[in-house]
Symmetry: D2
């Protein structure tokens, strides 16, 4: 039984890790920390976790595996000594996602706290990077938007059927903004409303660009195409879920119909337990509470564009579930271990 710790369990991602680990047959949550609530029982901070008999500490105790749900910068600082000590970790924060520390500084407004660890980090989108995840002790869990967009686009990019003019229009539930209060997330403001944000540049954009660029065919060639990505996130009045609608021009002759596109996608994701290519447009409700990603590629024949819709639960496949999937892969467990519950519908 793997003894697991969660640093900063007090946010939604931390709480979701605890929820999922409760039913994990091979791991047991034995230590949780959270400075603002240190000393409090977990059951008091989160009544839905009352079955745990754990108290929040200032620091994490002696464990075999660590998840960090700290904010960026603080996360790298907290994880650095653990990584040095050889403890395998998954970082839910953004600290180890961008490989280039200058890019990190540009988007996060401060120098990277542990740039020497960057080369040890694997990008934890298990489906697309499984061997690196398995081999690493430091895995950067993807952002929720990149998770949904990259799973939607990877088959088209890797199979070379689209030109690099990519538009990603994402719709997220409000829990993606976390538990920190803000007027935009005040119920009376967010309810019965939809808005776009991050129009001048969202921090998940460089992450998406980095990963799309790396997977583009002939990425190493000097004249390799640099994907031109526009990414627009939207806040919609629901708690959980992200739906991403992705648009790109089809290369001539690549694919002629939605059926053909879905065939190609099915082949690409064959055997993946957590990605399912579906024949009808999916709804986020179909994955709520679960680690599934549903992907629906279609072809707009009139304009010769590929349009791909994907749905995930932002707190599971977009955060805690993906993190546990990474843990499973890193520790040589079944990747599905503890993650097999169906979605909570309706």
């Amino acid at each position: 039984m793997v003894r697991v710790g969660i640093i900063n369990v007090t946010g939604y991602a931390g709480a979701e890790l605890a929820r999922l680990l409760y039913v994990h047959p091979e791991a047991r949550l034995t230590s949780v920390s959270g400075r603002s609530a240190a000393g409090k029982p977990l059951a008091e901070v989160f009544p839905h976790l009352a079955s745990y008999d754990l108290t929040l500490g200032e620091e994490i105790g002696d464990v075999d595996f660590v998840f960090s749900a700290l904010p960026h910068a603080a996360s790298a600082e907290a994880l650095a000594p653990l990584v040095q000590a050889g403890v395998p970790v998954v970082d839910i924060s953004a600290d180890f996602r961008l490989r280039d520390p200058e890019e990190y500084a540009r988007w996060y407004g401060a120098p990277h706290p542990a740039p020497d660890l960057l080369e040890r980090a694997a990008y934890g989108l298990t489906e697309l990077n499984r061997e690196a995840v398995r081999a690493s002790r430091l895995v950067a869990n993807p952002g929720c938007y990149p998770e949904s967009a990259l799973l939607a686009l990877a088959p088209a990019v890797k199979e070379g059927i689209i030109a690099p003019d990519v538009i990603i229009d994402s719709k997220s539930g409000v829990s993606g903004a976390g538990r920190t209060l803000g007027l935009a997330f005040h119920f009376a403001e967010a309810n019965e409303s939809v808005s776009a944000y991050g129009l001048t540049g969202h921090r998940h954009l460089p992450e998406i660009v980095q990963e799309l660029t790396a997977m583009w065919p002939a990425a190493e060639a000097p004249e390799a195409p640099r994907p031109k990505v526009t990414f627009t996130p939207h806040l919609i009045p629901m708690t959980r879920g992200i739906l991403s609608t992705c648009y790109a021009p089809l290369l001539p002759g690549a694919v002629h119909s939605g059926e053909q596109a879905r065939e190609l996608y099915r082949e690409f994701y064959r055997g993946e337990p957590f990605v399912r290519v579906v024949d009808s447009p999916p709804a986020t409700k179909q994955v709520a509470g679960s680690n599934m990603c549903l992907v629906h590629p279609t072809v707009d024949a009139r304009t010769e564009r590929l349009v791909v819709v994907s749905v995930i639960d932002n707190l599971v496949k977009g955060a805690a579930g993906q993190a546990i999937q990474n843990m499973n892969a890193m520790l040589g467990l079944e990747e599905t271990s503890g993650l097999e519950m169906p979605a909570v519908y309706p």
Copy 2:
């Protein structure tokens, strides 16, 4: 491994049974029926259940245990031959809840389809009727409102601290109305609105009265008090959850404070895995997707009334989870088997 069948899996209660059984370690769903969708794969009817490799039949196949999620009347008709054949069953419908067939006829507008089976039936509120459930092969799963109200009131009634003037004001999510379409459940009508209904008599009222009457102290005495119950259900704009607020006059000297009431309730529910007495007013979100019932008794000292708030997920503790708990009890399994997942919060 118990082979389980669900009759009429196509509604929300049926789908929720399938969701929960998927992670049950000692039972396996092997047969599902649903006339309107017979011949279709379960994965097509319910995309969130795509991990099942099952096709809906006209009838249920050969199984060790049966849940019926049929509407009333149809349910008793379908279950009667199974009960005769000795198959243990839990009926989610209302058919075996009322012990008096005339009362049934009065509220359901038709004679009871199988009155001779009524005396074999146990009322499946496991916490309050455990021995009868264990001994029965035909268990009537409680209605969702009675579940929430009876768990809120039972300690006060059985410990003799309240007079029989009981008011139950319940607030339910819209999934309680099922999957059948109706203008009141049309999104644009139900959203951003709250309304009362059933003011002239809801079918869950006689069920509540029957059970409260039976548990009232000295219920057998001829002059025993008949509880005077007013029950008002309300529809509120959320999918899952019931909160019941119950009011009754305290008997003189019975209990003087909320703390004292909670102490009495804690003692009453000691050891119950699915009922927790809490010190703060609970929210339905704290039990969403789980089989928990949170109960918060308080005392209005100014008016000498007991006020008890309880919350459940109407589809789990109010339907499918309670049904599986009953199955576990009937089959001698751990009552918590397959039901230990924490709530899906937020």
Copy 3:
């Protein structure tokens, strides 16, 4: 044209006053204040009010009528000099609702800031107190819950058909909690959830008790009944609206059916433009954005109880609309002036 000022326009009640005044044919909003946003254009603070060409000041300018939407205590302090100067005012805060300054101190935790003004204040539930409102220059606008409860109960109390054992179970949209941030009003927490609060005593309770006591038949007699009121507010996942369900025992022989109760209520509210007695249970959606209150009295014949359901928009009839209705009455305008728009449905 009456020149109107709003002190502290920055909350929801203030903004709603501005919205409604925009279409008032006989009043014009000419001055708005709000310290935190002083100097900002109203259009910047509230984009939906961009048609106004007003800038927030530190103080209100020279006007003929003033609404205060300040928090309690601050409101009385700001209004005192205006009242002394003879400016007619409506106070949306709680400061002038309770006639007894000791009761105020008990519930609001500090001495009343202007106790000498209390006797000048009229309780602004226009339908029940019209003459006093018309005669006063200082009107205390009712709390949103009392508004809904008193309109539901007044006919029964004044016509002497109920005993004084009153239970009020209210369900409110989240905007009632205002624009100040709080975890309970964070979208991800409030959405898909319902909870009770104020179980140990909500500040609207003494206001309800005061008004019910005053209207109880023979209220002046020494042995007059003191109503025993239990009031439980609930937070439900919608932005606007309050539904109150009120319960009281019927006096013997008073009323025998819902029809009879509705007849009595219709007679009581005959000619009232903003209260309508309805034959079916109303929904808050039917009054959203409007100044209407729908009331539906019924009789639970089994238990001889009166059950009354009322619905209002908490920001209109429960705050800004009621305040304008009071202004109209105070200034001798048509009471409906500026308030005749139908509800925004769906």
Copy 4:
């Protein structure tokens, strides 16, 4: 006072027309029809319209102006005799939007019921087609999605700053689907979920293409660009509102920043009472219940794309409000008459 009739008042667009007309100073609703509810008082069909003393007829009575809120095909049939008789009409249905009857037949699956009337019809997007609307007696009210998309794109198209590769990603509240029941609009299915639909071609697409094509610079030239439009509507869990996010490549050197784009848009819409160009991303809540359209153009400098976000209330600016604006224009009234109320926020 213009006497107005509404054919088929029983849907959401019809009810919204009645709501708005109630406060129109120069028009009075005097006749309403609706076959399924003929003979019923309007107050019974729609409790929020109880202030009207009108009964639904089988047919519309003698009026000066008619709105049709019938479904397509039925609408043209009902309007044809009125148009022939010289009664000015606005058709809310799709029947007179597409100028080419073959295109109509292709998308609506049946021949056009009144093709000879097509050349008399003006496309009623008043801001873009004012003179034609004023001169016409038969105005085709735009679809809700085209309304939001065309107002977002028109300045960029007409000023020649974008290439014709247009992507429109729209998010709509559920009331857009009307009052007819359907599983996708059942509360428990639509709530807490988002989904795309119409991926193989939505009926509003040809309408958008027709109008964009017509306004494209040098549209008459044989080699004029045909806009390549991909349009994806999404259903999101709210009742009212549409947000459209529109993407197009900027022509070289056209516009370099969001500020510049907004300057151009402001110039384009100067003097328009119902379109406001805003500096921050707008939210649908800022226009709920009102006839406003907020438009926010931005530039994605990294990819040289124009990204425009627009918001409307789908039932007002996307249907009934736009229809009344058209009536006002057709009758020579102030275009804003009866439409000046601010949005209902929050």
